[in-house]
């Protein structure tokens, strides 16, 4: 089995699908000749030709809008938005069009499109290269929203997304591209080469959409996390000697509610993590579901640890980021609550 970074795994997923299916086309800003600013599409144009992988003008609304048109023709566009922060001009096309075409045409037209975008902070990107917009997509019926946390899942989930017949938002935690970052920014970067999930099978395989992954089993508390926060959760639990059950949601919508409920009913305690701002974040949905389905099992209030309700600051990045220290505090509060 090959060792891959998350970038290589994502590229490999597109490579595998482009090789299998002529209808898969890849485009976006700087993705053609140059191979993307994060190099996720490097070599694809050379291998599959300019008609299968090409550069697009700097117009996210047009990139998604044209992608929707192609998808309704019968293509399977896998398009890149350079940073999740830049997706907002395309929001109307995603919400009013991609998400609704199947329903409003009663199945006559469908838009099987994958919209990939790097998400999250930790690279000193300030307010325009750091945001986590998952909640603005999970709020929209008709979309699926995925966020892998490692190379193995990234490849399998991206292949599943390209094969899916509905529009998929594919969020790539950019701080995980080159290694499993646990929030300890003061430490040297650890690479995927030493991580078991950096082992990526060759060829085709899928990680099914809608299935969470129990990363660690434990009895004290359930931590619901996704993307970068999976590793922050692990660090915080380890450093505070808490026997946490850590669930990597992977697929926010559809959501694997059964795995969540089974875990919280077992532990009786729950902490929800995300990097996005707190208020009206996806954590609010998770918290509501946990209280609805696990109320009688809960021994402590469900706590959320998230980004502060501010724009993502530049200089104060690590004060903003919900790192292991803040997560650890919340874990202790929840575990120690009587």
């Amino acid at each position: 089995m090959a060792r891959m970074t998350m970038i290589e795994a994502i590229r490999d997923a597109m490579d595998v699908k482009m090789g299998m299916d002529e209808d898969v086309v890849v485009f976006g800003e700087d993705v053609g000749y140059f191979g993307g600013v994060f190099r996720c599409t490097q070599g694809l144009q050379e291998k599959y030709g300019r008609h299968r992988c090409f550069d697009a003008p700097i117009n996210e609304s047009a990139i998604v809008g044209a992608g929707i048109g192609m998808a309704t023709y019968g293509k399977r566009p896998c398009i890149e938005i350079q940073f999740a922060d830049y997706v907002l001009p395309a929001y109307d096309q995603i919400v009013s069009e991609a998400a609704r075409i199947r329903h409003r045409s009663n199945g006559q037209f469908t838009a099987p499109i994958v919209i990939r975008m790097p998400t999250g902070g930790g690279i000193f990107g300030g307010q325009t290269h750091s945001q986590s917009p998952e909640a603005i997509f999970t709020h929209v019926s008709g979309l699926k929203t995925l966020i892998p946390s490692n190379p193995y899942d990234a490849k399998g989930m991206l292949i599943a997304a390209i094969e899916d017949d509905d529009p998929v938002i594919f969020l790539e935690p950019k701080r995980l591209y080159n290694g499993p970052f646990d929030g300890h920014h003061e430490n040297a970067v650890t690479s995927w080469a030493k991580h078991e999930k950096g082992e990526v099978p060759e060829g085709h395989y899928t990680v099914p959409i809608g299935k969470a992954n129990v990363v660690e089993t434990g009895m004290d508390v359930t931590i619901l996390a996704y993307g970068t926060m999976v590793y922050v959760a692990q660090a915080a639990a380890r450093e505070n000697n808490i026997d946490a059950e850590i669930i990597d949601l992977r697929s926010l919508l559809p959501l694997d509610l059964d795995t969540i409920v089974n875990s919280v009913q077992k532990t009786g305690r729950c902490v929800v993590l995300h990097e996005a701002t707190l208020t009206s974040g996806f954590g609010a949905e998770l918290t509501a579901l946990v209280q609805q389905h696990c109320f009688k099992h809960l021994e402590a209030p469900v706590l959320r640890v998230a980004g502060w309700d501010t724009p993502y600051p530049h200089a104060q990045e690590w004060h903003y980021f919900p790192g292991p220290k803040r997560v650890g505090k919340a874990l202790k509060r929840v575990v120690e609550a009587q």
């Binding site: 192609m70 019968g74 293509k75 075409i101 019926s141």
Partner: protein, 420 residues
């Protein structure tokens, strides 16, 4: 810069707030539209470079003269397409569209549907354009292109059931009346969000071309919606990738109460915008069925020969209210539609056919009566399956269907809750 070279002060700055030349109570004034004589505009070969045909963006292609004769190079360009049988079919398509609209407008007033949009006065554009589309091509229409469906022979029964949101509604009540979806007729699901589909049509054509297919697409937008970002996005992608698409702007002068000057249409013709993007455009008399056929043939041929996109500005007038929720007497002179310099598309084609001896007033009256009977009969048949709020209607549970290909668990739970 020394003091003596400073420009003189010109007083306080100001902006322009565009206003139409006339409002209710004023005499209509269409002096802003320069109408050339029929036949006066050249018909360049379809592979002409955009820079060699800029003048076509500033004039108006017209074929039918005031006397009802087909004149000039665009009539010649039509060649074999200009035959009596074809034109009679066009006349009947327009008549049917107009009768259909009138019946549905009344049905809305009777509470049989919530909403209706007529295309009164604009019938030639969609009915004529569709004649140049082929099976498998795709229109991305707005809610005023019902003529595409009529001209393609779409079942009026299916159209009316959709308008009534009754139990036979092909969209199961999911979508607003008139926002049809008929894939088999090359008619894309209408969004209702303005302009969003302009760029999708470009993407669809890109998909066809990337696949090495021979299918083309057509985008549709109103003058008001050219102000939307998506219009410019579509123009940009059409320019950059040169896909086989015809980009149609139906300039009917009004967007609800906003005159087209508010979309920038009085500073330069909408057609001129193509030249900023470097592809050809035609500005066409949209009330001249023959001009519509000719321009549609020109642009679709360009697309089919892989010569790239064409922008067409159809100059017409929205005789009808914007929708059944609108009252134009509140913002434009009542007599404005009578003063419209390009006349009525149906009357103009009728005059032409009568002049040629292919038609007569008697036959017209008889045909009108037949079409009315046909539409009324179909309407009655559709009403057997209910109208809005009368009859069974689409199954309520169907609102949960088609959100995704397979219903995810959270929707299954919601549907169970709904049923309980």
């Amino acid at each position: 810069m020394s003091d003596d070279k400073m420009p003189e002060a010109t007083g306080p700055l100001s902006i322009s707030i565009p206003e139409p030349p006339t409002r209710p109570g004023d005499a209509p004034d269409f002096s802003y539209i320069e109408v050339p004589k029929a036949g006066a505009v050249d018909c360049p070969p379809v592979d002409t470079k955009p820079e060699d045909m800029r003048d076509l963006a500033y004039s108006i292609v017209r074929v039918l003269s005031r006397k009802g004769e087909a004149v000039g190079p665009w009539a010649e360009f039509l060649g074999d397409d200009l035959n009596d049988e074809s034109l009679l079919r066009g006349l009947k398509d327009m008549m049917k569209t107009r009768v259909f609209d009138a019946r549905m407008l009344t049905a809305q007033r009777q509470g049989k549907t919530s909403f209706y949009t007529q295309c009164l006065g604009e019938e030639a554009i969609a009915t004529g354009f569709q004649r140049m589309m082929r099976k498998g091509d795709m229109n991305f229409p707005t809610y005023r292109q019902q003529g595409l469906l009529i001209a393609d022979g779409c079942s009026m029964f299916d159209m009316i059931c959709q308008i009534y949101s009754n139990e036979k509604d092909n969209l199961d009540g999911h979508q607003l009346p008139c926002l049809y979806s008929f894939k088999d007729h090359g008619f894309f699901s209408i969004s209702g969000n303005l302009g969003t589909q302009f760029v999708q049509a470009v993407g669809w054509a890109m998909g066809s071309a990337i696949s090495g297919d021979d299918k083309i697409s057509a985008a549709w937008i109103g003058d008001g919606s050219t102000a939307e970002t998506d219009f410019h996005s579509g123009m940009l992608f059409a320019s950059v990738y040169q896909p086989p698409v015809v980009l149609n702007i139906v300039n009917n002068q009004w967007a609800i109460s906003s005159f087209n000057g508010l979309a920038g249409g009085r500073n330069a013709p909408f057609a001129a915008r193509a030249h900023g993007y470097g592809f050809p455009s035609l500005r066409v008399d949209g009330n001249d069925y023959l001009a519509v056929l000719a321009a549609s043939k020109w642009a679709t041929e360009r697309a089919r020969r892989n010569l790239g996109p064409t922008l067409i500005e159809w100059v017409t007038y929205r005789v009808a209210a914007h929708s059944t929720s609108d009252d134009p007497s509140a913002y434009r002179p009542k007599e404005e539609s009578d003063a419209w310099p390009l006349g009525d598309p149906l009357e103009r084609l009728k005059l032409h056919l009568i002049k040629k001896g292919a038609w007569s007033e008697e036959r017209h009256t008889q045909a009108m009566a037949e079409i009315e009977s046909e539409v009324i009969a179909v309407q009655k048949e559709a009403e057997k399956y209910g109208t809005l709020n009368r009859g069974k209607g689409p199954d309520p549970e169907k609102m949960f269907e088609g959100v995704y290909k397979e219903m995810p668990d959270h929707l299954v739970r919601q549907r169970l809750e709904f049923e309980a």
